[in-house]
Symmetry: C2
Subunit: 660 residues, 2 copies
């Protein structure tokens, strides 16, 4: 460690405090407690510890920093501004929490360069950081060679009490310890205060012992000793085989004379009087103060950072020259483009479980796209989630492996996939039973909000799961997913559709996809629309045409398309059209012309889906929707379907208006 | 500990193995690994350790046992049958996993007496067990007196690797350790195997150290030594101030000659050949074998158990005589009935935040119903979730307190509330921001499935949250909740509705309720329907009538009723009716006659809700729905609402068909 200019660092910390106090005051809301309490760490991180280059925020080999305690966003914004990141102006900070400012209430991914992840919901930031660290090991193993190290960076996170109370951080930390993610370093802002009061109220566990139990190196020190932070961080970096938790004892709201070290410092403006005293005590001369010494310090740093990133570029260029093939692969990995030109071929009439067809599609894509990585939450077999054998398993010993055993940790799995995706260079998929998507829903919401094309391959997608009973039978999940903004839901009806669904998911660049994969066998059916592979990309197509103008259109999704075809055949429905609609929201986003060509306007429509009715009312009258609006039961698939009326005969009854 | 008949216990274990093997085989699916591996513990628990009485399954002071690893359901069913619980016949077991059998795939609450909780989804069983233990301390503190102990029982749970990997168990266990729940005893079936393979794959943390870090007593032993289990359990019971984790090293599928100690034992039938060898080795003479010695053993036990419960009854009767007031309260607590006769009164025109009105309603109900307990996930103030001061705070020292600080652990909070509710005697509520309901959704689903009337008071219910940004602004949550079976969603529009919503939630006995509580101030509005308190119990009522038959009905919920009234006033809409619909699904369940009296059939309908459109299409054309179908933004409430078009002017535009 070179000698540090601690005087300048103090001025950086002072500037963070000044900006944070004023931004929260002007906004009339926000969280001063964390930025005031951790300003020294922030200064150290962005000044001395992080390998980064504000003039090149997308530098692939930069260190990543995730502010897991996202409510302390003013810490991050202050630092981005002081360092000279181009997308965080003083004007943004002055308009903290206002529409149009890049300084949003919580860090939002995409809002400004330098924000590596959206981290409003607690516990997910550290879990995504684990994913960043996973990605680093994978890319390092794949691309570094004996002569060139082009991937070698750390992932830093700052967590608070809230992050550590949330279960997802425990899942992810256990995972990180097991896999020995040595380049992951988390600082714990241990201020012993939450919104409700002292942590003595409800959080008295021994965090250090818990993290040691997970297999982490645990270090402890003071938040306010630059040299100690430097030494502890060096110790953390020296430990190659364990992630490190650095517990820094701190004072929430440090610098706020009356509120510091009290729960009042957590949220809300300090108020003019408190600010006046704070300024007098700290030596802050005015509004939105930035100390000139802090600016000078970072100006000098910017030169060093540019040199470091230019140095890396030289190595990268030399590596590219020595490894033209690898370089092409590197570019492909980072292009955001996927190769979906090869897909498994299925025979018409062939009976195959949709989850099994899904695995064939996944494996074909994995062969064509070496950056596709992921796995399942301990359901590799039942989810048919495995990758081709040559993809290998990612372990401590084999960082080049691509299949990840996540353990029975659905929520962390999704958050880790978000981290892998955010890191850049890799595409992530993950898999569990559809019903357990509830466990990881908060991370799926972040995928959607952050526009990350994570693929959620969710099997066992309806009450046809059968004997495992209602806790394993999804009912309301489709409705919940479809209502989520920026999430694509695909429910393929047979193996052919399944292959297309996987291709569509891989083609997405700014949206996560849920692929619902049934457990049941379905015979690949004939498709009236010969151009169905194009049509399905609009959400729906005609599986069966009517003779002449249809009197009735039956819309179905997933395995219920098969059921609909059987019902229409039973009825001898020459005047009936059958539509497969794997993605309702995609179809609904089409022009009226496109929609009308598939679902004949004016004619009666019947809908059939083994899930909650909600949302289908746009397409059919309530009495014309065959749905499942109660919990399932334990029984054979046939028994449960019969009990709930999800049968060919029930659909025939609806079509014939016989009532239910 | 009296001397045990270990020979008989061995026969009980043998019978568990025999029944479990055959039930799974006959069903063609299921999980033999756990019942085979833990049969000895099961025998000990139901024979020697649990204080229970199969002839009186609802005995209030019984010990509770929660099979947190619910996939091992055959362990529980075998024991219920062997002990003589009336609702688990051999016929049920023979029809394991078939419709109509009480032996469902996973334990379902309500399916058979003796099943204390539904525990299919991993991690939630142990978390509910924490709730049972909380309830025990509360009732003991309230009802026991110096001379009579009428509440004094333990909560036992059996957890597997999966339960301990799930984050929710970590949250709940940290909570249990903090609060020193000494009567909670969890056995960990440490068999080192999951579906994907050895736990070495992905779960190598030091569980014992982690639980010690939580503040638990951790004990270790063998699954197959009756005396050791007895001694360890005695040690656990002797520790009054800490919950205990008893780690029992075991062999998954023990008794299955080729599959035991392999992942293959986890799920699926063993197969005829394997069963034949197992039977030969173990001495099982035939199908669905129950050893006569096991039956004799339990027949003798049944006498002892009856004596113990009769003994308790004597104490209870004496206590009742000495404490007639308390006895009345006890009966009220256990009646399932709530007193909703008192409610806060608000003045028309009074401006009050709905969350604040909610607190007045909650406090009034808490005063009238001393069994109402609960709290918030570290947002007591923001959620307005506090109880009246005389209700006290539940702590280690004050077990009679009723407000619970849950910490930043939403998922565990909901699971613990399920446990409190399942225990009997208490009503539970809990509170967080609406958007973080995503974190606890899996437990809310269990509330609904188990028919537990837990109250979820969720504040900050729309994009009007403003500056905290999209991670804190719910959008799709209403749609998701409304699609969930057996969950009541209430979104009150002003303080008066809010008080009624709380009363409705308390009146429910078999259904959880979500009350959406806005952060904003709303002036209490005049209601055209003078009988609105009756009408609201059907889900909707007329806030404003039209002159004559309405040309248009505007349906709105929550704070958007105010917006709708303003829009209609602006437009001078004499021919427009305005309907407040706090519960769409309740309204939809009414007869056509009731519905038509509120929403005039034939006339145009416009809907306004600051949430996803999904499901409203039943009531209005897509273009006539003013909704929020994208994520929010960080900004003032007005900025965000303006940006998303959730304004009076936008609604006026829709009503006037001006397009959007």
């Amino acid at each position: 460690m070179v000698s540090m200019d601690t005087k300048a660092l103090e001025k950086v910390a002072l500037s963070i405090r000044a900006l944070s106090i004023d931004a929260v005051e002007r906004a009339g809301s926000g969280h001063p407690g964390l930025p005031l309490g951790t300003a020294e760490l922030g200064a150290m991180l962005y000044g001395e510890l992080l390998r980064h280059d504000p003039s090149r925020p997308q530098w692939p080999d930069r260190d990543r920093f995730i502010l897991s305690a996202g409510h302390g966003s003013m810490l991050l914004y202050s630092l981005l501004h002081l360092c000279g990141y181009p997308e965080m102006s003083l004007e943004d900070i002055r308009n903290f929490r206002r529409l149009g400012s890049r300084a949003s209430g919580h860090p939002e991914y995409g809002m400004a360069a330098g924000i590596e992840a959206g981290s409003g919901p607690l516990g997910q930031g550290i879990s995504m950081a684990v994913g960043f660290a996973v990605a680093e090991t994978m890319l390092a193993a794949r691309f570094n060679d004996a002569a060139h190290t082009i991937v070698d960076h750390c992932t830093y996170a700052l967590v608070g009490d809230g992050c550590l109370m949330e279960g997802v951080s425990g899942e992810a930390s256990s995972f990180a310890g097991h896999y020995g993610l040595g380049k992951l370093i988390a600082y714990y802002d241990s201020n012993r205060m939450t919104i409700d009061g002292s942590t003595d109220l409800v959080f008295t566990e021994d965090v250090a012992a818990r993290y040691r139990a997970y297999g982490w190196q645990v270090l402890q020190g003071s938040m306010y000793d630059f040299n100690e932070i430097a030494a502890l961080t060096a110790q953390a970096k020296a430990e190659a085989n364990k992630p490190s938790l650095i517990i820094l004892t701190s004072i929430i709201g440090k610098g706020s004379p009356k509120k510091q070290d009290t729960p009042d410092a957590h949220s809300g403006p300090l108020g003019p009087e408190e600010i006046a005293t704070a300024r007098a005590n700290l030596g802050i001369p005015g509004d939105f103060y930035v100390a000139p010494e802090a600016l000078d310090y970072f100006a000098a740093k910017r030169g060093e950072w540019k040199k470091a990133s230019a140095q890396w570029q030289l190595v990268f260029d030399a590596w590219s020259k020595a490894n033209p093939e690898k370089r092409r692969e590197w570019d492909a990995f980072h292009s955001g483009q996927a190769d979906t030109s090869t897909a498994p071929v299925f025979k018409r009439g062939e009976e195959i479980a949709i989850r099994a067809a899904g695995n064939k599609a996944l494996c074909a894509l994995a062969d064509a796209n070496a950056n596709l990585v992921g796995g399942s939450a301990d359901l590799k077999g039942p989810n048919s989630a495995g990758l081709p054998p040559n993809a290998g398993v990612w372990t401590r010993e084999n960082r080049g492996g691509r299949y990840i055993h996540f353990g029975i940790r659905e929520f962390a799995m999704a958050a880790i996939c978000n981290g892998i995706s955010l890191h850049g260079g890799l595409r992530a998929y993950c898999s569990t039973f559809m019903v357990f998507s509830d466990y990881m829903r908060p991370a799926m919401r972040l995928s959607a909000l952050m526009k990350q094309p994570v693929i959620y391959a969710l099997t066992h997608d309806s009450i046809f799961v059968g004997p495992d009973g209602p806790t394993h039978q999804p009912v309301e999940q489709f409705a919940g997913f479809r209502a989520m903004p920026n999430l694509r839901v695909l429910r393929p009806a047979d193996a052919e559709e399944c292959a297309e669904a996987w291709a569509m998911a891989m083609e997405e660049t700014k949206m996560p996809t849920v692929i619902a994969l049934a457990r049941q066998n379905i015979a690949v059916f004939d498709k009236a629309d010969k151009d169905w592979k194009r049509s399905i990309r609009r959400g729906a197509y005609l599986v069966k045409r009517s003779e002449g103008k249809p009197e009735l259109t039956v819309i179905a999704t997933g395995t219920e398309v098969d059921l609909a075809l059987a019902a229409v055949e039973k009825i001898g429905g020459e005047k009936i059209a059958v539509v497969s609609m794997p993605s309702r929201e995609l179809f609904e986003s089409q022009s009226a012309e496109v929609r009308d060509a598939i679902v004949a306007p004016g004619a009666r429509t019947v809908v059939c889906e083994a899930g909650a009715r909600s949302g289908w009312e746009r397409w059919a009258k309530t009495e014309d929707i065959l749905s499942v609006d109660s919990f399932g039961e334990s029984g054979t698939a046939e028994e449960v379907a019969g009990h709930l009326g999800m049968t060919v005969d029930a659909l025939v009854g609806i079509i014939r208006k016989e009532g239910r």
